[in-house]
Symmetry: C2
Subunit: 452 residues, 2 copies
Amino acid sequence: MSQPSDSIVAAANARARHLLTEAIPIATVSALGEQLQEGADHFAGVLEAAGLHTEIWESPGAPVVFASRSAPPGKPTVLFYGHYDVQPPDPVEAWDSPPFVATLRDEAIFGRGSGDNKGQLLAHVGAVAELIARDELDVGVKFLVEGEEEIGSPHIGGVAATQRERLAADVAITADAPVHDDGRPVVIFGVRGLLFVEVELSGAPRDLHSGNRGGIAPTPAWTLVHALASLRDSAGKVSLPGFYDPVRGPNAEERAMLDALPTSAAHLIEELGAAGAEPWQERSPWEALGFQPNCNIAGLTAGYQGPGTKTVIPARASAKIDFRLVADQDPEAVYDALVEHLHRVDPEIRVRRTASVPPSATSPAAPFANDVIAAVRTATGLEPLLRPRLGGTTPDYIFTQVLGMPSILVPYGPPDMNHHAPNERMSLAALERGVACTIEICRRLGQDAPAI
Amino acid sequence: MSQPSDSIVAAANARARHLLTEAIPIATVSALGEQLQEGADHFAGVLEAAGLHTEIWESPGAPVVFASRSAPPGKPTVLFYGHYDVQPPDPVEAWDSPPFVATLRDEAIFGRGSGDNKGQLLAHVGAVAELIARDELDVGVKFLVEGEEEIGSPHIGGVAATQRERLAADVAITADAPVHDDGRPVVIFGVRGLLFVEVELSGAPRDLHSGNRGGIAPTPAWTLVHALASLRDSAGKVSLPGFYDPVRGPNAEERAMLDALPTSAAHLIEELGAAGAEPWQERSPWEALGFQPNCNIAGLTAGYQGPGTKTVIPARASAKIDFRLVADQDPEAVYDALVEHLHRVDPEIRVRRTASVPPSATSPAAPFANDVIAAVRTATGLEPLLRPRLGGTTPDYIFTQVLGMPSILVPYGPPDMNHHAPNERMSLAALERGVACTIEICRRLGQDAPAI
């Protein structure tokens, strides 16, 4: 099998770059509900122009873009998943160029969504568009593009369940993650789940003077601190009853994959800081990220947060908490245990769930897995690493659990592209690699028969 | 002893209202270091115009305004203390009129500083100015007006120590508190001290993706939560070693005063909320506020605080904490114990002290105390309540401990004037009562000999 010719990759890559430059300015911040219809319309137009039949499906939240092109007789269909929504740009002042302007510098395109996920998704689109233009697409192709991934994909599971026939395919491919820390391509067979909650407490009707009322007023900030401290010990262990019961470690095959994943101490130190990276220089972090759940405080808010001294008793205190869950943890069960635990601390604590995504896994022995691995090898000229589970979350369960097909993640973004952080970027080389991989995946699957 | 005549009170009150309207627009926010020189210049001009010899003393922080008018031979001198700085106006959006515009409505003057402390201070100034204008001031008068009270008066103690002779007086009078909760006038004989610290932790160099790194990244927000939870138990007891050793309860005379202070259940419910007020309907809150120390979380900050879902591991987490201390607690000793405690949790925790004010007490048997009580009785036509200690903090220790004189607090502001909160206000009736009390205090002291 030869690599895709330079000319088709170059032409497809030019498409992808242009499409990304046009997509970044649409500030599709799902956390704020901003510009989501505009984003859906834009991506539908892009997919229609690429030569696919396109529909916009309404959902109880952001619209879902679906596009398809039928498989030639006897050929399989690949379903590409991506999302047009992005994380909030905060803190905006930490960006070196405006987050919603596609800015080319240092051989990369900067902007919110440049990597996560507009850039990686548009690598797929540019490749498919160029294959169609050349009449070289020998595989069925579908795109499922949602607008709520960054808020935990609350509706795509329901949409998928009602659109099983339209979404039928032989394998799902997702490029929504970074490549391995050392920059090598990686093929991933599952994700952690996500449960995101907001916890809030109220005290007096308004902030009070801590001198005049300190000692007799309600203290929601203290109650919040004690509720959180009782949730996770200082070693990181979550204290919800039954939390670890469904957790199971890697099997022998997964263990071998984990052991083969390289760990760069220099990269960890740069990213985590010297103190944080210390334990992970000695042992592999990949098992912890893929096979251990985690409870994170994503935000804490109470009282006066400006510079200097202000002696108030806060009337309200709140926290944002996310759990990353591993197979076979159930976000519903974790949520129920969490609410019960918090209400034992204080029955007045308000808990609001904003995201609930089950974990997901595909066997590396699943149909087409070897084709995908081989395609990445051919397109990049590198032996791809194999990773059993991603630390992050995609709604991968809709493919493995709702639609019943194997699902494989093939990320293209470099590890330093600042997903969810200021100065998010997509290197030009990574974008081109994504285009080349997509072309090669389509070619290889086009030589296969569909799964039975 | 007759009440001050209506005409002198009315004239002095007109002066005070005019002065307050002029003073509110100067946004002297000491926490932000804003407009402090302008504030000092303004108040110096006001005191000079009132007929006092005025100086501005430089300090390592905000300038201090000193004004004096010598005592007639054989007469005592009264030292009025106040401050020209104010709290930050946050949350600005909660104000019904702009915080730095003096707005008259509902028989009150609204604006930041209208009560705390510009309004109460200018009641003194208006009264003294009118007495001087009528040549009826028979007592020596000094004013000490600082610009850092709201950030814990870090420099006024040092200034007082180097200006002992200029500041010499027979009794200090401060109007920097609300009157009693039921609106009755109160005379107060001490204050709680204050220790304010900012606690901060850092993790990774920047916020990280909680999926990609959750479980291996440093977690400063969790460390902060555990550090705080270990500082105070859920019942409110501070766990610093030795913290309660110097605390002593009220003596018999103080206990009698506390028992005589009325507690209004309706007022407590309005202010604290039904749940918060419940315990204090059964027993007196005044002992807790005056004779028990308290540890308050004034602010909590970490990660994403906007609406919706953002899955970041915060790179930094911080808290603002204030301790209210009672005689004979030493803020220096509490600070040392706090730092040692926090560093046992994590040696990397940064602790920054922004305010440190010792508690203070004056005996109700001190010279001139009965004159002040009688003056308030005469001026208001009401029997003043006597309160051993204020829950809040003023730098009262500079009078009792640095300058060695009795110090008495006579507040004028109503209890609902929203000190430190949005819609701070000073009722017109309260301002007039402050003017009347000041006139009567000066008259009574003018009939006395100085203390030996």
